[in-house]
Structures are given as structure tokens and as C-alpha cells.
Symmetry: C2
Subunit: 486 residues, 2 copies
């Protein structure tokens, strides 16, 4: 393998590929407008010191991606659609009715495809393990376990380790959220917390409002509990459309909402604080619980942690769920629910379904939080994720066909791509997987398998040659798919 | 606190209490038959070197427990019912129909009562933590966690850590049970495993056959999934009555059976191997899955590990669930399901409901199993539990009122007491709890709250003064309850 430089080029990248990428970026940035004539072959040869063959190859590659087109005896022109590239994906128009969820099988198949170590993990749900302080956690775990006694085991039954719960409540308080001493239940990851909350507020057959697109684990949870999904219009930047939500609540009998209010998966949308406050007020007026999946809150790229909707929850309607799996300790499976007025019900369901959460993990985390390195770790993690995200985003703009829209989230580690409508992203996923590249196709993120020309890409892995080549190859496969559809 | 001698007497035990206990034991062992005249006051004064007042007090205490009765001007006689004491509890006659389970609230309340460190844990579900090798496990955990890498996290997703699963399959193989490489799913304790298996083989409203009495977590699981319980006659020694089961299967449409075939909780019943084989054959003929809860299998008092029903499962109808929580690592929450033909479905449900099991716990256990001290630990544990069980059993025979029947299990750490029918064990539980002694009343173990004069006592805690005094006091409270009912 060659060495990659900062922009992700390795020694094997040919001259024409570099030239094509640079021209694509110029087009993307608006240096050349749609319809504008591009520099002639001779001009480029002189300016860049390359051969005419290199320039012709570069223009051909850009033509294949739909960014430029050739006019006979006149030269190369920026395509009219080229400028769609750097803009954000559009908000989807959800189906009007609630529907049963049956996508579990597809989700399971697709998730399996990210498990292979040989596969480039662009479809993965987790950031790279190298970003996490496993050594420090292990030391803390060993120290904490030596102090394990009978009483800690019994005391931690069901609601969780007391020291960990106290530390969690302190962190909530630091962020201006008051959590009662009996409100927290430590769970086996946020996923168990979310599932228990969902079961606490619904009965089989109920309707639950979810975003559009939706995090697939929410769809799985709905399917498992025989609930129906009702999607609400969701802005790729600002999250759930409250007017659309209010209209739904008037029209349908809704048991609960399940939203990711901060860095929504897959969109990356962040509801502004004012909108979160309005959301809480709206749901309180209707007496509808909000399950707030807030696992990415610590991964903000800006200077300040976005407040969760739970901040504004005076009446206990918000069941706030989060975990350490995305920001500190993947594999430890420690999450929690601060379930407001449903805390007792969630605790009973926890006792019934898995009794308690693994104590070694809880104690390692409590010890780690007590020793005080968490915020330093988070600062480094945020910086790494923000840098990686911008890097992958540049490469998407460079390598993907014209008309590709891409999100620009202010946190998290996902990009949401809206490809040209003729590209079937599930077929593209399967093509890429055969070449050792996983992706998360849009079909994962809706009960009715819409978003068929969308992709979610994981940007949580540090750039290396393998990743760069995978992104370029994915762009090529997308261009090929587009070409063959015409 | 005074020092306790081997038989549990401390310095504060009065002479008359010792004398009463010794006489009760003689009666229990048949030294004196029902109706027989007991030694006179003068004889006893001479034989034991005590005062007449001491003998009178002892006989009065035995009379209060219904073991003896006084005849005017004639002396003291063994009561006709006194001999019921050392015999086993009777098999219950279950309700004929399936019924919805609604005992969750009571179960939750009763379980909470065992959480207080100040309470004597006779109602607890776990053995004493001092019996487990937490130091060795901690060292193993620390060693294993230092080798944690990204690939182990991804590789352990859903089905569990590969090394642990391999070690588990090897242990199955050592006991003559063949488990396929994809059959095992590591779960958050046996409880999650059992819950996922139950969900994999049922739909809401289905009927599930359970033992009578039933482990309360099975009732909770049925309640959570809106299933109906159908109890089958269960022999306190030999477990499920197969003729009764076959009759049920002919009469009712049954979705699954959930049985503890070895050291059933609370009875302590052990199905003989031949009966287990017949059970598997019977269910295979009817195409009905068996969820086999086998968490006590390692805790046998005899020389050989009883084979699970899974041993005879050629067709994949047995979903075998177990864990390390009762025999090695309470609080670690590591269990598993070997789910036969339902293994894929269980794995999907695991992915949907909690994604994966805590990795630090799994790796600590895998490392511990690899280093080879497990069987040595188990031998010591079995010996300790068997000794403690016999000790508590003797004290029950000594202190509880005449007519009390008590199980004599060949493994596990529970005794099942059938008190005289006039004693309300739920009221007794509440009385005892007010004095700092927890118990598990019979109402916990049935969907219709039968077993109202039964108690389960935990014998998994090493004898000490506090425990001895609690057992004596519990016997006194039972005698008082019996007296006041007459």
C-alpha cells in the first residue's frame, strides 16, 4: 500500500484521476458555473504540465459522472445539473398512513454485511475503535472489580450501579437537566433502554410517530412489539417538522413519538433548541410521551453541547435514552433511560426482561468518570470526528456523480447522500459489498423501503488509503449505475 | 453477637430452647411415635440435668408448635400430626385452564424486599457472593480487556464473543451435548435468553405450559408477552408428570413448554434422565418447542451432573438456556441460549432488542474458563451448598410447626416448605420482613397465587448467628400464625 497524503491521494492515483477530482471540486465550489465552457485541452496542458491524453481522460471521467458534457468541435462544458452536488438532501414526503413494519429481515441481512473485518466499514454504525480509551477503561474496570462485594451486586439489581447512576445524574445536572434519583434505569445499551421505554408506553397495534427517514433500530423495535410506524416530515437540517407533526396528532390516535433530536441517524439533523422546546410543549398538550434517542449528543462539532428536549420536560413526558457506546465504550453495552413519569414502569420491564445490567461494565465506567478524563477524551473525539467527516464529505463531492446531494451535519459521524434518482442504492450496496465495501442503503431507514436512491456513509473511521480507495470506487460504481440507467 | 457452634446455637440460646429443639428433632426422626407418651418432667430433669421449670417451658414451646399435647394428670404426648414434618411437600393439583398472568406487581414488590443488606436473605434468588471467585474473575477480566480491539467488538456483535462461545460448546460436548457453531447466542443473563426464546416461539395470546409451582420469572415473561400460563402437575421429586402433560397437549393448543428440568425452582425437583428423554420425544411428536431453563445444572449434590433434556434433542425442538449467574459470576449477567431450530430467530430478536451482550464480562469469563480453575471452583461450591442446605433443613425441622413438609433436593440452594394449611405464607412473609427476615412466599410461584401456605427458603448463604436466629424466629412466627388461626 502506498502512503496517503492529507487529501487522501496515494502514490497509485493516476494523474488524470487527480486532475478530474480537482476539476470536480472546482465545479462543486462554483468556480465554474453550469453551462460555462471549461478550459480547453491545450490550456490545461499548459497550466498543469500534463499531456493532452491526461486531460482527455480526466474530462471523460467527469463526463461519465455527468458533471461535464462535450460539444463537438467546441470543447467541454459544465453540465446544467452539476451544481446540485454540494447542496443538502431534500426532505422526503412521508406516506400519509401508519403502517406495519416488516423490514426486519432486510435490516438483519444488511447489518450482517458490516461485520466482516475485511470489509471497508462505510456501512457501519460505530466509529473506529481506535478512537476510544480502552486501556484506561480496562484499568478502571480492574480497579473497580477488586472492590466488588455482595452488597454492590444486590444494590445494583435492576436500576443499576449506584455510583454510575449518581455520576450520570451529575452530568445531566451540568447540562441543566434535572433527573430525579429514581428516574434513571441503567440498561444493556441505549437499544435496550429504547425498547423498554417503547414497551412501557404502547400496546400491540399502537401507532408510533417516527422521523422520515428513521433509524432502523426504531423500525426493528416497532416490528418486534407489533406496533405501526407513522412517518413525519423531517427536515435534513432542522429535524421534525412541527406543523406536520401537529397535523398528524390531530388526525391519528398516536401512542408515542420516537425521535432523535440531535444529529439524527441517518440525516444528521439537529433540532434547534427552540424547536425542541416547542416539541415538548406540543406533546405535553396532547399527553403523548416522547422517546428521545440522544446517543450522539456528546459528538457535536460546534462549541456547545446541544440541549436535549428533556431539558424542557417539566411534566415527565420525555423518556430520554442515551449510552456510552458511541462516545466512550463500544462493546460495554451500558446505556440508560431517564424515563420521566414512566420510570417505574421501565424499571419493572427491565426486571422482567433482563433483570440487571452487567456490573463489571458499569463499575468500570463509574470509576472512569470519577477519575476525570472523560471530558478530555470527548474533546479529542469530537475533533477527530469533525475532521474525518469533512474529509469524507470532500471526497464524496469529488468522486460521486453530478446531482448527488450530501448532508453537512454539525455533529455525529454519518453523511446522508441523496444520489441521482435513477441510482438504486440497494443494488449499489450489493455491488460495492461484492468488492469489499459496505454501505447503509436508504431502504434500511423506512418502513416502506423508500429512500431507494439514498445512502448513509459512516465517517467515523480515520482516513487511510483503503478508505480513500473505497470512497473513490464507490463513486465510480455510482457513476456506472447512473450511466447504465440511461 | 455470640459465637455459633456447628449446630447453630449461640450463647444466648436458653436451655429450654435447646431442649425443645432436641426433642423436636427426636420426634421428627421417629424416636418418639405419634400418640406415644414422652418422658416425664422428672425423668428429663434427671437425664439432662436441668430444672423442672426448663422442662415445662420446653414442652410448652413444643405444644405451641403443635408437636406435643398435654393430657391432664398424665403428661405430654406426641401429637398425631407430628410426623408429617420430615416428609416431602405434596404435588399440587393445577387449575385445569390456561390463564392470563397478572402477578407481576406482587412479584416486583416481593423481589424488592430482598434488596436491603440489613435483611436476612432467606427470600433471595442468589447464593452468597462470598462463594464466588471474584478476584480471579477480575484479574482475568483485566487481562482480557487489555487485548480488546476493534475486531473483537464487531466480531462479538449479537451472537457473542467467539472465544466464549467456543468454550461453552466445549463444555456442552464434555457433557455429551452437541451444539452447532451457529446455535449459541450469548445473552444478558439466562433471563434475557429465556425471554428471547419465549418470544421466538410464541405470539401474543398463546398458551405456554409451565410447572406447578412455577419459577416467577417465567410468569413475568409470560405476562410481558401477553401469553397465557397453563400449569401442569409437577412432582416435588421427579418434576413434570408426563401423563398429565400428554393429556394437556391433547386437550389444548399449546405453543411451547417452559420447564426447569434440573433442580426446579422452587421445588428442587430433578427429572430423571429417562423422563427427560421421554419428554423430548413427546414434544417432538407434537412439534412443540421446549424452553429448558437449566441454570442450576452445575449445582448437583451427587457425584454426577444430571444431563439436560437437550442431550436427547435430535430434532432441534429444545431451546436450552443457562448462565454463569448462579454458579460462577453473579452480576456479570452472562447467559446463553442454545436454541436448536430457533437459533436464527433468537439471534434476530437479540439484535433487535439489545444488540449484543457486554463484552468485558464475556471476555473475563472466556479468560477464566481458559485458565482452568472452573471445575475446582465448582467442586468447592457444590460442597458448600450441599452442606448449607442440610444445615438449614435440620433447622427447619427443628423450629417449624408440626405438619410442615420440606423438600430434600439433590442440588441447587432452595428448600420448598409446605406449612400447615392454616398458615398464610404471604402474611407470614410480611410479618417476618417487618423483623428483618425476607422469604419467598408461595404466592410468587403461580399465576393464580395458589401455594398460599408454602415458602421457598434460600439455603445459599453460609450459616451464622444471624441466619440461625432468623430461622428460629421464622419458625416461631409460623407457630404463632398457626396458633392464632385456631
Amino acid at each position: 500500500m502506498g502512503q496517503a497524503n492529507e487529501e487522501g491521494w496515494d502514490a497509485r492515483t493516476t494523474l488524470y484521476e487527480r486532475l478530474a477530482a480537482e476539476l470536480a471540486e472546482d465545479i462543486g465550489r462554483g468556480v465554474h458555473s453550469p453551462g460555462e465552457r471549461l478550459p480547453s485541452v491545450r490550456q490545461l496542458c499548459q497550466a498543469r504540465g500534463v499531456s493532452p491524453a491526461t486531460v482527455f481522460q480526466a474530462y471523460a471521467a467527469l463526463e461519465a459522472r455527468g458533471l461535464v458534457h462535450a460539444r463537438a468541435r467546441s470543447g467541454f462544458y459544465v453540465a446544467a445539473t452539476a451544481h446540485a452536488a454540494p447542496t443538502a438532501p431534500l426532505a422526503a414526503e412521508p406516506q400519509p398512513g401508519a403502517q406495519a413494519v416488516t423490514s426486519g429481515e432486510l435490516i438483519f441481512e444488511l447489518l450482517q454485511s458490516t461485520r466482516d473485518a475485511e470489509v471497508v466499514p462505510l456501512g457501519s454504525a460505530f466509529p473506529a475503535a481506535s478512537l476510544f480509551p480502552f486501556d484506561a477503561l480496562s484499568r478502571c474496570g480492574a480497579r473497580a472489580m477488586r472492590r466488588l462485594d455482595s452488597q454492590s451486586i444486590v444494590g445494583a439489581l435492576t436500576a443499576g450501579d449506584t455510583a454510575l447512576r449518581d455520576a450520570l445524574r451529575q452530568r445531566y445536572a451540568q447540562h441543566g437537566v434535572a433527573i430525579g434519583p429514581d428516574e434513571l434505569v441503567v440498561c444493556n445499551g441505549a437499544m435496550e433502554a429504547l425498547n423498554l421505554c417503547l414497551q412501557a408506553v404502547t400496546r400491540p397495534g399502537d401507532v408510533v410517530v417516527v422521523e422520515s427517514p428513521t433509524f432502523y433500530a426504531a423500525l426493528q423495535a416497532l416490528e418486534r412489539l407489533n406496533l405501526r410506524a407513522l412517518e413525519v416530515t423531517t427536515d435534513p437540517q432542522d429535524g421534525v417538522d412541527l406543523a406536520a407533526l401537529e397535523a398528524l396528532l390531530r388526525r391519528e390516535r398516536v401512542a408515542a413519538c420516537w425521535f432523535m433530536t440531535t444529529f439524527q441517524n441517518p440525516l444528521g439533523a439537529l433540532m434547534p433548541a427552540a424547536r425542541k422546546r416547542q416539541l415538548v410543549a406540543l406533546l405535553a398538550r396532547h399527553g403523548i410521551p416522547l422517546i428521545e434517542d440522544d446517543v450522539y449528543a456528546e459528538l457535536y462539532a460546534g462549541g456547545r453541547r446541544p440541549p436535549p428536549a428533556k431539558t424542557y420536560d417539566d411534566a415527565g413526558w420525555v423518556l430520554h435514552c442515551s449510552s456510552f457506546s458511541k462516545c466512550l465504550a463500544p462493546g460495554y453495552r451500558v446505556g440508560w433511560a431517564a424515563a420521566g413519569r414512566y420510570a417505574g414502569a421501565v424499571q419493572r420491564l427491565k426486571a422482567m426482561s433482563s433483570l440487571a445490567t452487567s456490573l463489571p461494565s458499569q463499575r468500570a465506567l463509574a470509576e472512569y468518570l470519577a477519575q476525570g478524563g472523560y471530558d478530555r477524551h470527548l474533546r479529542r473525539l469530537r475533533e477527530a470526528l469533525a475532521t474525518q467527516q469533512q474529509r469524507v464529505r470532500r471526497q464524496v463531492l469529488r468522486f460521486f456523480p453530478a446531482g448527488t446531494r450530501v448532508s453537512d451535519p454539525s455533529g455525529g459521524y454519518f453523511l446522508w447522500l441523496e444520489l441521482p434518482p435513477d441510482i438504486d442504492s440497494l443494488a449499489l450496496h450489493r455491488r460495492a459489498l461484492a468488492e469489499g465495501i459496505s454501505t447503509a442503503p436508504g431502504a434500511l431507514f423506512s418502513a416502506d423501503r423508500r429512500f431507494h436512491h439514498h445512502l448513509r456513509l459512516n465517517t467515523g473511521h480515520p482516513g487511510d488509503v483503503r478508505l480513500d480507495q473505497a470512497l473513490r470506487r464507490l463513486g465510480e460504481l455510482a457513476s456506472e449505475a447512473l450511466r447504465s440507467s440511461r
